[in-house]
Subunit: 387 residues, 2 copies
C-alpha cells in the first residue's frame, strides 16, 4: 500500500428537505453572500425562490449564467470582481458541478490581489479563500465533496483542473428531489462522469481489496440506479443513491493507498470539451472504452479481468483476454444503453483538430506518467478510434 | 434512503514512517502536551523514544497506564487533573483505541469545570475540548476516525459509549509497522471488533447497494488480511489494509442513508467487559453468531441471505433459511479459525451474573429499539447461548 494523507472536512447534509437547514448553516459566515448559479433552471424549479425565502435578511449579490465547462472569462472574473466590490463573506453555489467548480475558483480569486489565473494554473498557491456552501442539483462531478475544480479558458483552449485544500465546501446540501427534473441526457452523462471518476482510480498498478471493493460497489450502484432513474425520474431512492455514489468520485477516498493512476480519460476529455465545449460526461463515456482497448496488454490485463468479473459478472473461467475484451464491450454497451451518443462525430467532432488536440494533451496533461503511459500518438489513436 | 448529516474532519496520515511528520503536525497546537499511553509497549517498541526525540522542545506531561476498557477512575480523572494543572494545550495519544477513547474523555473534561462523568453520561454537552493528535498502534476500534469513545466505571459496572463532534482527532497518524508486534490474540480480537462494527451497521432495515457493497468489501478485506497477518506478522500490506479497514468502522461512512440499526452486540458486550473486564473484540466475536441465530426470522432472513452470498460466497440457489444458517455458522467458524475463544466460559464468565447483566443491558442500552428488538429475556438467552 502506498502512503497517503487524507482529509475531507466538508459537512454533508443529505436528504429530502435538507435545505431547511440552510439558515442555520449560513449563520456563521456573515450576511454578504454571493449567490452563484447557472442558466436559470433553479428559477424554473422554485429553488431560487426558496433560497431567497430562507435568507430574507441577507445581502445577496448574484452571479448567474455560469455555463457547463465553466469559463474563466467571464464567469470567474466577474465573480471575483463582485466579491471584491461587495465585500462578500460567503459564496452560496446552487447548481451542478460547473457552478461549484466556478465558485471555487472565485472563492480563491476573491482573496488574491493578482490575476486569478495564477491560482488556477498553479503559478501561485492561494493563501486564503472565501467559505463555500453549495446546494447540488445534479448527481455527477463530486465537486461537493472535493477541493478541486475545472476551469476552461476559451482563447487558449485550456481546460485546467486545479485543487487546493482551502476549497473544500464548508457545507454541501444534497436533496435528491432537486435532481428529479434533470433530463435523461444529463442524468446519463452525469452517471458516466461519476463512473469514469471511479474507473480512473480503479485502473492502476497497486490497489487493495478494500479500495477495489468500494469502487466495484460504486460502479454497480451507479449502473443499477441510473436505469431506475431513467425509467422513473422521480424514484427517490434511485436518485438518492446516484447522488451519494457521485459524492465519492473525486476526493480520493475510493483509492486511499492506491498507486498513482494518472486520470488519463479526464486528461483527454479536457481537450475535447475545451476545443468543442461538449458535455464532459459524454466525452468521457466515448473515450473510456477506446482507451481501455488501447491500453489492454499483458501488463494491464489482470485489472481488466478483475473489473470484468466483479463489476459485470463475467465468467472467471474464461481466458484472461477474453474476459478483458468482454468487459470493455460491456462498458461500451452500458453507456450506449443509457442513451449516450457513443461517437465523437455525433457531438460534432471530426478528424480536423485531432492531432492538435493530441499535442495539447500530450504537452499539458502528463499522461506519459499514467499507469498505462500515453504519448501523443496514443492519444491521437484513441481520439480517432472514438470518432 | 434515510436523511443524514456526515462530517469527519480528521486528517489521516497513513503509511510507513508517517511519524516523521509529527513535528509539523504538532506545531500549530502549542507546546504543552499531555502524552497519554497504555501499559508500556510503546517503550519496548521504541515508539516512546521516537516521540520524545521528535518533540525535543515540547513540555510533555505523561499519563501512562491507561488500560483496555479504559477506566474513568483513575485514568480519565488523572488526565483531566493533569491537563488543568499543567495547562495542557494538546493531547498526544499513543496506543490503541483504549488510549484514544480515554484521551477523548480527558480532552472534553479538561475544558469543563464540573465532574467529567457529566459529559460522558450525556448529562451535560461539552462546549469545548482540547485538540487530540494520535499515533495508533493497533488496528481495531476506528477511534482514530470517529468522535466517540467508551469509558468504564468500575464501581457501577457501567461501560458507556459517548460521542461529541468536538472529539474528532485533529490528526491521526497510522503506521502499519507499529502493528507488527501486536500479538496473535490481539490481532484476532481487533479484527473481530472491526468486523462487528461493520455487521452492526449491515444488519438493518433499510440500506443501499452502495453501503452494502462498502461493508461487504470491508468484511472480506478484514478476513483475508487477518489471515495473512497471523501467518506473517510483518506482512506490511496485510497490516496496512487491516488498519485502513478498521478506520472506517465507527464514523458512519459505511452506512450513510441507512436506517437505525441499534448496535445490539456492542450493547451486550459492554456489560460483559464492564462486569468481567474481558477483551472487547473477543466478547463481540462470541456474542455475534449467537445474536444472529437468535434474531433470525422471516423478517430478518433476507439480510442474512445477502450477507451469506456476498461475504461468504454461499450458493444463492439454496433456500433462504439454509443460506442464513450457513452464513451464521461461517461467521462462527471464521472467528474460531483465527483463534478466538468462542465461549464465554473460556474467559471466566459463568451463569452467575447473567440475569443481572441482562437487566443492566435492557435498562441502559435501548436495545428494544434495535432493528431486531431485544428485551431482557432475549439478552439473557443470547448470553446463555454464548457460555
Amino acid at each position: 500500500m502506498v502512503n497517503f494523507e487524507y482529509q475531507t472536512p466538508t459537512r454533508l447534509m443529505f436528504g429530502r428537505d435538507a435545505i431547511k437547514k440552510l439558515p442555520a448553516v449560513m449563520e456563521r459566515f456573515g450576511k454578504r453572500v454571493l449567490l452563484s448559479y447557472g442558466g436559470g433552471s433553479i428559477k424554473r424549479t422554485g429553488l431560487y425562490a426558496k433560497v431567497k425565502e430562507l435568507l430574507p435578511d441577507y445581502e445577496i449579490t448574484e452571479l448567474s449564467g455560469i455555463q457547463p465547462n465553466p469559463k474563466y472569462d467571464p464567469s470567474v472574473l466577474d465573480g471575483v470582481r463582485l466579491c471584491k466590490e461587495k465585500q462578500i463573506e460567503v459564496i452560496l453555489a446552487v447548481g451542478g458541478g460547473s457552478v461549484l467548480d466556478c465558485s471555487k475558483a472565485i472563492a480563491a480569486g476573491a482573496c488574491y490581489d493578482g490575476e486569478p489565473w495564477d491560482l488556477i494554473s498553479g503559478k501561485v498557491k492561494a493563501k486564503a479563500a472565501l467559505p463555500i456552501v453549495d446546494i447540488i442539483t445534479l448527481a455527477a462531478t463530486g465537486s461537493e465533496y472535493d477541493c478541486g475544480g475545472v476551469i476552461s479558458r476559451t482563447e487558449t483552449n485550456d481546460k485546467i483542473g486545479y485543487m487546493d485544500a482551502l476549497l473544500f465546501p464548508a457545507v454541501s446540501i444534497l436533496d435528491p428531489v432537486y435532481t428529479f427534473t434533470v433530463s435523461r441526457r444529463q442524468t446519463a452523462a452525469g452517471t458516466a462522469d461519476a463512473m469514469n471518476h471511479v474507473m480512473e482510480q480503479y485502473f492502476t498498478g497497486e490497489s487493495t481489496l478494500l479500495n477495489d471493493g468500494f469502487m466495484e460497489a460504486t460502479l454497480k450502484s451507479l449502473m443499477v440506479n441510473v436505469r431506475k432513474a431513467l425509467e422513473n425520474p422521480e424514484d427517490y431512492n434511485a436518485r438518492a443513491e446516484l447522488m451519494l455514489d457521485c459524492t465519492y468520485g473525486c476526493n480520493g477516498i475510493l483509492s486511499l493507498g492506491s498507486s498513482y493512476s494518472g486520470w488519463p480519460c479526464h486528461g483527454m476529455e479536457h481537450a475535447l470539451s475545451a476545443y468543442y465545449d461538449i458535455t464532459h460526461g459524454e466525452g468521457l463515456a466515448i473515450i473510456t472504452p477506446r482507451w481501455m482497448k488501447h491500453i489492454l496488454s499483458e501488463k494491464t490485463v489482470e485489472r481488466f479481468v478483475k473489473y470484468g468479473v466483479n463489476v459485470f459478472g463475467i465468467d472467471p473461467g474464461l481466458g484472461k483476454f477474453e474476459i478483458a475484451e468482454r468487459a470493455i464491450q460491456a462498458t461500451y454497451d452500458f453507456f450506449a444503453s443509457i442513451g449516450i451518443p457513443m461517437h465523437l462525430k455525433e457531438l460534432g467532432i471530426d478528424e480536423g483538430r485531432i492531432d492538435e488536440m493530441a499535442r495539447h494533451v500530450a504537452e499539458n496533461e502528463g499522461l506519459e506518467y499514467a499507469w498505462a503511459p500515453l504519448r501523443q500518438r496514443d492519444i491521437a489513436d484513441i481520439f480517432r478510434a472514438s470518432l
